[in-house]
């Protein structure tokens, strides 16, 4: 069966060969099972509903060679790269190079936090790229926060790759909060160029009463960025996750959340800044599986030039999830007549006592607003930048951890400056 499916494209054949080589070196039944799930589906084309606007089968000409384990020289290059980059936020850094935890480049974590290498398991997610990540990623790491621990500063996970001209890099990062623990995390994807195909997965597990703020920042320039978040939120726990995308030729952020416990709370948000010929896709699937959960999704996109944005949000309310309160909103501003935004919000509700809604808008900058600002002496370009900054900042400002708001706003302002 596998052979049939994988005859479909060059990239799929390469992936199959890469997996076989890995199996010869270090066989694993779990990874073999994951690859079988990928192989059964293959790379998704536009016929797969969840991938309708991001046809990987067509756009992935081939799968780039997988980055081997870093050499001494790679580690030293990463060290100097780290020294030269400005920190996104205060707090300790955990460094992954080519998807592998670099203890010697990472900083001590506060009391109550531990980090171990090893594969992270998740509940089953029906997605071929999630399966591919599980099959091909190095073991990655799990960051655990002890019961009741409350971290004062965010922990930043820096994903680095090396300078090889054409490669793919897989990573798998797990974040687990025990009962009543509270922490913020930032994941920064850094240093990739157009020859990089990145497959990142983050698994977040929140035990009862835990609270997590998570911010992902995609600001470098990979040719392909596929990021899968798989999250589970237990009773009264609260997850707030935000993603900023301002680079990459083709980015796909796919976020799967299972609201597993009563009164779980979720706040998802994001801002996509897309120009040139970039494509950026954000796809959500939120499953309310327990009663009285609350979910809020608020996404914004600024799309210029020939860029294409995608937002798909599916909220599923299972029969048991009575009293669910869900609201999803996605808004985009198009800056050029060629820019595109595809929005597809969906609700699937099987419980009868719920409040759920969604809204999506796509618009241009309001000429009345531009004129008002200009009539006060503000030049046209500055007026537009002010309005775009305001539009973007409204998504950022919803983040409760204020330590993370300013650096995100700085990135938005920097992106707007590059467009002037």
């Amino acid at each position: 069966m596998m052979a049939d499916v994988l005859n479909r494209s060059v990239a799929e054949r390469t992936l199959s060969r890469q997996f076989a080589e890995q199996e010869r070196r270090e066989p694993s039944s779990a990874r073999a099972a994951a690859f079988a799930r990928f192989a059964a589906a293959g790379l998704p084309s536009r016929r797969v509903e969840a991938w309708h606007y991001t046809d990987l089968l067509a756009s992935m000409a081939d799968a780039a060679p997988i980055l081997p384990a870093p050499t001494r020289a790679d580690v030293e290059a990463a060290r100097s790269r780290l020294a030269g980059r400005e920190r996104f936020a205060a707090g300790p850094q955990v460094v992954l190079l080519g998807g592998r935890l670099m203890a010697e480049l990472s900083e001590p974590l506060p009391t109550g936090v531990s980090i171990v290498e090893g594969p992270a398991e998740t509940y089953a997610v029906d997605d071929p790229l999630a399966a591919l990540n599980e099959a091909l990623s190095p073991p990655g790491c799990t960051i655990s926060v002890a019961p009741g621990a409350k971290l004062a500063e965010p922990i930043t996970v820096v994903h680095l790759t090396n300078g090889a001209p054409y490669h793919s890099v897989y990573s798998r990062t797990a974040i687990a909060l025990d009962v009543e623990a509270q922490a913020s995390f930032v994941e920064i994807f850094d240093g990739a160029h157009a020859g990089v195909q990145r497959h990142a997965a983050t698994i977040m597990t929140l035990a009862d009463g835990a609270r997590v703020t998570h911010v992902a920042v995609v600001g470098d320039e990979p040719g392909l960025h596929i990021e899968t978040q798989i999250c589970e939120v237990a009773e009264t726990a609260k997850l707030a996750a935000f993603g900023l995308v301002s680079g990459g030729e083709l980015t796909r952020r796919q976020i799967f959340v299972r609201m597993a416990g009563n009164e779980a709370k979720l706040s998802l948000g994001g801002l996509a800044l897309i120009d040139g010929a970039r494509r950026a896709d954000t796809t959500l699937q939120v499953v309310h599986a327990a009663p009285a959960g609350t979910s809020r999704e608020f996404y914004r996109a600024i799309v210029g030039d020939d860029a294409v944005g995608v937002f798909q949000g599916k909220i599923i309310v299972e029969k048991a999830a009575q009293k669910t309160d869900g609201a999803m909103k996605s808004q985009a501003i198009l800056l050029s007549p060629r820019a595109q935004m595809n929005e597809k919000p969906e609700l699937e509700i099987f419980a009868d006592d719920v409040v759920c809604g969604h809204g999506a808008t796509v618009a241009s900058l309001d000429p009345e607003q531009v004129f008002y600002l200009q009539s006060r002496g503000i030049p046209n370009n500055d007026a537009k930048a002010m309005l775009l900054e305001a539009f973007g900042a409204e998504s950022i400002d919803r983040i409760e951890d204020k330590l993370l708001v300013d650096p995100l706003r700085d990135r938005l302002a920097a992106w707007l400056r590059t467009r002037k």
Binding site: Y372, Q374, G377, N380, A390
Partner: protein, 264 residues
């Protein structure tokens, strides 16, 4: 560019704003029809007219709003042709439009906007940006006079402002930007009598021999508080009568019917 450019050489020439034979259409419908009007330095000129006479169009065309098509004519401010300038360049030359319906801009705090506007003006003159304490002091003083509380200035620009708050904020902007010509478009609409008084006092405080005002209004009421030097009647896209303040009282008594017919 200088804001207070005085190109005039003739001594005693007080002409500040000159509109000459201006014809304007929007979506192929002619709104202004060969309109001419001169406003002198130090003058408050009222423009009164029935609904649909083109008063607001005149205000927008002065400020440079896109979508209006200027078919012919000139608008000179201190001798320079405004029609060649972008809205922001007109503002820097000293034109200020107090909007009838100030635009709501979510996400931009009123204070942030004020600072951007003031600094844009200063940069165009080659001055440094205002320091924060200096800026705050100016705003505080201006806001006090207009009974604008500081909390309002932290809100997003015009969002959730009452009708009176919006108009007071327009006048605050005008006070801070200190224009050559202030154009007030139906500033009395939506104001109760107390708010009207505050706004009018704000405008009166800015009266100056080196500044002019064009006060556009449908009703005479505003002119009880902002006393005009001259009253123009506008109908069918042109000025059809000009007189002293008594003309406003006549219009209040007799309505616009005579002028509408005369223009027809």
């Amino acid at each position: 560019m200088t804001v207070n450019s005085a190109r005039r050489t003739r001594v005693g020439d007080r002409r500040m704003l000159e509109i000459k034979n201006l014809s304007v259409s929007i979506e192929d419908k002619r709104i202004l029809d060969n309109l001419s009007l001169t406003v002198n330095a130090g003058e408050v000129a009222a423009i009164m007219g029935p609904n649909g006479s083109g008063k607001s169009t005149l205000a927008y065309v002065l400020a440079g709003k896109p979508a209006y098509q200027v078919i012919s004519g000139d608008i000179l401010l201190d001798g320079d042709n405004l029609l060649e300038l972008e809205p922001n360049e007109r503002a820097l030359k000293g034109l200020f439009l107090a909007f009838q319906y100030p635009t709501e801009i979510p996400g931009v705090a009123a204070m942030t906007f004020l600072k951007a506007a003031l600094n844009a003006q200063r940069r165009a003159r080659g001055d440094n940006d205002l320091t924060t304490p200096d800026f705050m002091r100016r705003v505080r003083e201006g806001a006090q006079a207009l009974k604008i509380d500081q909390e309002m200035l932290r809100r997003p620009l015009n969002v959730g402002f009452s009708g009176g708050e919006k108009k007071r904020f327009e006048v605050l902007q005008m006070a801070l930007l200190a224009p050559r010509v202030g154009v007030l478009d139906e500033t009395d609409s939506g104001l109760d009598i107390d708010a009207l008084r505050v706004v009018a006092e704000g405008v009166n405080a800015l009266r100056d021999p080196k500044r002019a005002f064009v006060v556009i209004t449908h009703y005479q009421r505003l002119l009880d508080y902002i006393r005009p030097d001259v009253v123009h009647v506008m109908a069918r896209g042109r000025i059809v009568a000009t007189g002293g303040p008594e003309l406003a009282l006549e219009l209040e008594r007799d309505g616009y019917r005579d002028y509408a017919e005369e223009a027809a």
